[in-house]
Structure formats: C-alpha cells, structure tokens
C-alpha cells in the first residue's frame, strides 16, 4: 500500500478532519502539563489514517479534540466544515451523534444489552424506531461476521467479538468520521489483526475518514497515511 505525502494531498482535496495548531494543557499551576503544543493534523475521506507515537505523547488527547470530546485551549478544530470549537456542548453532542463514530480500547458496551441492542444505540438515540435500528444492527453484525452472537451479552463474547460489536455501533449511523483509540490493544495478536482488517475493509469508504491510534507496528501496512506524534506535536 502506498503512503502518500500529506502535504501534497493537503493542497489537492479538502480534509474532513482538520486540527490546526492545537494546544491543550491539563492541571493548574505547578502540576500543569502541556500535552498538545501546537499539533496540526488532518484526515481525508476514503482514507485510513494512523496516529502513532510514544506513550504519553498526546495521541489520545489529540483524537479527543478532533472527535469533539475535548475542547482545546487554543487552535481550530473543524470536522466536515463545522468548527467544533464554536459549538455549545449540547450542540456538540448532536454533532457527534450525527457525524462521528467512536471505537474505544475498552469496548465500553452496555453489559445488560445484547450485541444487537448495543449496536443499535446511536440510531435509537437519533430518534429511529428500535425495530429499524435493530434490523440495521443485525445486518452490520452479519457483515462483521458475528451474526450468530447477535443476542448475546458482552460478557458472553470474546474480546474480538466485543470489539466487532463496538465497530458495528460506531458505523451504524453511517458517520463521516470514525475515530478509534487503540482498538486492538486489548486483543490478542490474531483477533487484533482480524479487527484491524475489518476496519480497513468495512469502515473505510468514500466519504468517510477513519482515524486509528495504534502502537501495533505489524498493522502499519494497512494505513493510507501515518501521522507520527512526539511531545505534543505531529511530525511531518
């Protein structure tokens, strides 16, 4: 797979996710730590972008900002042409619900809900009837190869299966942006590979940008683009 030079493409097509000169600190006074120190990052539709870098360099913080979960101290975040930094928090929630899907390292599925019900949540939250949402969830689970586990609860599923349910949940509302933080870190090598390949095959579509934070260098070849972070900035 070819890895294009980001600068070239920057001029060519508009990015879906654009973070410019993001600064973010945590804590106050003596304990204040500057985590992002002017990070600039972009992701394009139809592409799988990896963010890599040493532990603590600010990868999670950066995608939290890019996904509208965290407000930066400085800088501009724009997703699908909307400047997130200008949205009040409830509008921001609506924006995420419509445009962004998340996959977490810890899956974060609701334990008392079945796989189908978990996957259906974003559509239901958008006001879709449960029946329709569940039908779509089933077909997604089918796509991801776990239709037979549809009625099981998370505790009855393996880690890899749970992460596939989480991917179904992240994709069900057809978001423009999919953000994944170390989606394979809680999985053994082989199921990690399966999950990553599924993301590559099923999630990457024209019109959607997929951003994945990862440590796993064995899966680097799957990426269209790799952004390398160090010390709170994205290296070029």
């Amino acid at each position: 797979m070819e890895i294009r030079d980001s600068k070239q493409v920057l001029k060519a097509a508009p990015s879906i996710v654009a973070c410019e000169c993001i600064e973010k600190s945590f804590g106050k006074g003596q304990t204040r730590t500057r985590v992002l120190r002017g990070a600039t990052f972009a992701a394009w539709e139809g592409e799988l972008t990896y963010i890599v870098g040493p532990s603590g360099c600010g990868k999670t913080t950066l995608i939290s900002v890019a996904g509208g979960l965290l407000t930066p101290d400085k800088g501009i975040v724009s997703v699908c042409g909307t400047e997130l930094t200008r949205l009040p928090s409830q509008k921001l929630a609506d924006f995420r619900l419509k445009n962004i899907g998340f996959v977490f390292q810890q899956f974060n599925l609701l334990p008392s809900l079945s796989a189908v019900e978990n996957a259906a949540i974003p559509l239901v939250a958008q006001g879709e009837s449960y029946g329709k949402a569940a039908r779509r969830a089933r077909s997604l689970l089918n796509d991801l190869g776990i239709e037979s586990e549809a009625t099981k609860r998370p505790s009855q599923l393996s880690g890899g299966q749970q992460q596939r349910v989480a991917i179904a949940r992240a994709l069900i509302h057809n978001p423009r942006v999919l953000i994944c933080d170390e989606p394979t870190a809680s999985l053994d090598a082989s199921s990690g590979k399966v999950v990553m390949e599924l993301l590559r095959e099923k999630a990457v579509e024209p019109g959607r940008a997929v951003v994945v934070v990862t440590h796993d260098d064995r899966i680097f070849p799957l990426a269209d683009r790799i952004a390398e972070m160090a010390d709170g900035i994205v290296k070029n």
């Binding site: 999670t60 996904g67 979960l69 409830q90 929630a93 962004i100 008392s112 949940r169």
Partner: protein
C-alpha cells in the same frame, strides 16, 4: 432510548431488586404504621360515634376526654333539660370494671351506663338479643369482641352469665360497637345498674347527652348550655376531635409511630440512594460512552427518571399490596386490629414519599452523570 434505559435497569437484577425492595419496604412500613395509628386515633372516643342520636355532650369543665371523667351533680341534668333548644337530655355514665372470663382470666372492661328509660347511647347494631331487655336486673349488653373475650369458643347468644366486679351479670344482647381504644370488652347497662356494678351505688354522673330540637344552630346551643349551666358543652364532632387530640397530646403513640414512619422513610432514602449511587458508579463508563456517542444530557435525565420511576412504581405497588393484605387479614385474625383500614390519603401520601425517594435517588445519580466528562471513555 427508554427501552435501553429499562434494559440497563433490569440487567442489573441485584440492584434493581434492591431498589424495588427499598421502596416496597418503606411503603409497607409507612402505610401499615400510619393505618394502625389513624385506626387507633379513630378508636378514641368510639362511644361518641356509637351514640348516634346525641348532638351535644355536657361535662365538667376539666374533662378533656371520654376516658378521664369528673362526676357531675345530678341536678345539672335537669338544668340542661331546661335550656331553650334542648329536646331531651339523658345521663351517661362511664366507669371501669373487671370481668372474669369463663376461662378464669381477668379482663379490664369499660362499663357505660345509659338512661334507664330511653337506653340512649347503646350502639344500634344488634348481633343477637334485644336491647330492651336491658331493663331486667343485672342485664348487660356486650360488644362482639368483648363477647369473644369473655366467652371464648362460644357462639354469640344471650342468657350467658359472668362476673363483673364480683357481681353477676347476664348478657341480654351482643352489639356491633366501634372498636375501643384499649380493645378490651365494652359493656352497656342501665345507668342505675352501672352505678351498682362499679360504684357501690353512689351517684356519679359522667356526662349529660343532649339532643337539639333543631330550633337553633348547634354551636349557638352549646354556647347557651355553657353559659347557662356553667359546664363544658361540645358537639359530638368536637368531642370526637378532642379525644383524638387528647391521645395525640398525652400519649407516646404519635411519637412512637412517627419515629417508625420517619425511620422507614430515612432507611428508604438511604438504601435507594446508596444503590442508585452504586448503580451509577458501576455504569459510569457506559453512561460516559453514551455521552461520547452524542446522547444529550436531557436524554440521560429522561433515562434516569424512567429507571428510578419504574423501580419506584413497582416498589410502591408491592409495598401497598403488602399493606393492603395486612389490613385485610390482620383484622380477621386479631380483634385488636379490627376496623383498621388503609385510608386513601395514606396510600397517596406514601406514593408521594416513594416519588420523593426516587427523586432524591435520581438527583444523586444525575449529579454524577451530568458532569462526567465523555472524554474519560478513552482513558484506561
């Protein structure tokens, strides 16, 4: 989303059960205790309710309740009869007695003496016998519970004899009387007979019962009696309320029932509050991921209210059912609970309490949920 909220709730069956039982326990306790309390209060002064024909009770100014009496002079009776607007006035005696049951047990009883001629003041509901036979020597009328206590295992019947203050008494009728406060046997005899039974024949007029001739306002009439005779005169309703007030003011009953009810409410709030808090803490990540996905706070609030509301309604219904069953069956088994029931306003009040408990629980839960940072979902 509400379906999902309910799934979350039912999915954690231990805590769901805990919430439901917490509310059910509180509801049961509050309804049962307040029901008994109000039942007891309504029993104080049951003889007033049973003397249906009487409009006005006249007594010594120092008397506050039916149970503690000061003797009046007999001449007062004639003076009350002389007040304009009084149709009739009759003597009424209240005293205490000791009964020996056929099993040999001793029971404390209340003995009422009614006007020898009119027999006014005897409860009207006859189970067996004839009140007019009260005119015979040694005749007494006994209430149902009293009969069962004095003659356990015997059918209701007349002609049975027993000892009242070491004198022979003959049952001439069994009546339905309102349950008495002490729940001991209640006996009715003629006034003159009652004096013989309890007071060695010395005259002792406890109350004068008067009837209005309808020519004037009841309150005006009782004021007239007060002024003209110099005694205390109150309407039947006022006297009933005064008896209730006396119990409230002079016994530990309101305090002890109040304590139980308050403890029940506090335990309910604590149990339910703690469980909700636990439920929320355990589901914090899940709620945070809902928020990260983009579920608005207003939705989260609705979800929590559906969860607590459901647990609250189920718990309240179970508790109320339990209390209703108690009042249904307790009265049948034990005469000391007879006539107790669950007033609608207590049931409604307990619903308000259950609502309050679940409101507190919701606030405890929401206090955390509304302020969690959805960004925590990315942290390990």
């Amino acid at each position: 989303m509400l379906r999902i909220a309910l799934k979350m709730l039912f999915g954690d069956s231990t805590k769901y059960l805990g919430l439901v039982l917490g509310v059910a326990f509180t509801t049961l306790l509050v309804n049962q205790q307040l029901g008994i309390f109000l039942g007891l209060l309504s029993r104080s002064g049951s003889a007033i309710s049973d003397a249906v024909e009487v409009d006005i009770w006249v007594m010594d100014p120092g008397v506050e309740t039916l149970d503690v009496v000061l003797p009046l002079r007999e001449t007062e009776l004639y003076r009350v009869r002389g007040v304009n607007g009084v149709k009739w006035a009759v003597p009424f005696f209240r005293g205490a007695g000791t009964v020996r049951t056929i099993d040999g047990d001793v029971e404390a009883t209340t003995v009422y003496g009614v006007d020898d001629v009119s027999l006014i003041g005897v409860p009207q509901g006859i189970v067996v016998g004839d009140i007019r036979n009260l005119r015979r020597p040694n005749a007494v009328v006994v209430d149902e519970d009293g009969f069962r206590r004095i003659f356990p295992s015997k059918e209701f019947q007349t002609g049975l004899e027993f000892e009242l203050n070491d004198r022979r008494a003959i049952v001439v009728a069994v009546v339905k009387a309102s349950p008495s406060f002490s729940s001991g046997p209640v006996l009715y005899t003629r006034y003159s007979e009652a004096l013989l039974f309890t007071n060695n024949g010395r005259n002792q007029l406890s109350f004068i019962l008067a009837k209005s001739d309808g020519s004037r306002n009841m309150l005006k009439l009782r004021n007239d009696i007060c002024q003209q005779i110099g005694l205390k005169a109150v309407t039947s309703n006022e006297f009933k309320r005064a008896n209730v007030q006396f119990v409230i003011d002079n016994t530990g009953i309101p305090t002890s029932f109040g304590t139980v009810v308050a403890l029940g409410a506090i335990v309910g709030v604590c149990v339910v509050g703690l469980l909700t808090n636990l439920f929320v803490i355990e589901n914090l990540r899940q709620f945070a991921s809902l928020k990260a996905i983009g579920v608005r706070n207003s939705r989260i609030i609705k979800m929590v209210f559906v969860q607590t509301g459901t647990a609250g309604i189920v718990g309240w219904a179970i508790g109320l059912g339990g209390a209703a069953a108690f009042f249904q069956f307790a009265g049948q088994g034990d005469p000391s609970f007879r006539g107790f029931y669950l007033p609608w306003y207590v049931a409604t009040g307990s619903a308000a309490l259950a609502f309050f408990i679940m409101l507190v629980a919701s606030i405890i839960g929401l206090r955390r949920l509304l302020f969690i940072d959805p960004a925590i979902v990315f942290r390990g």
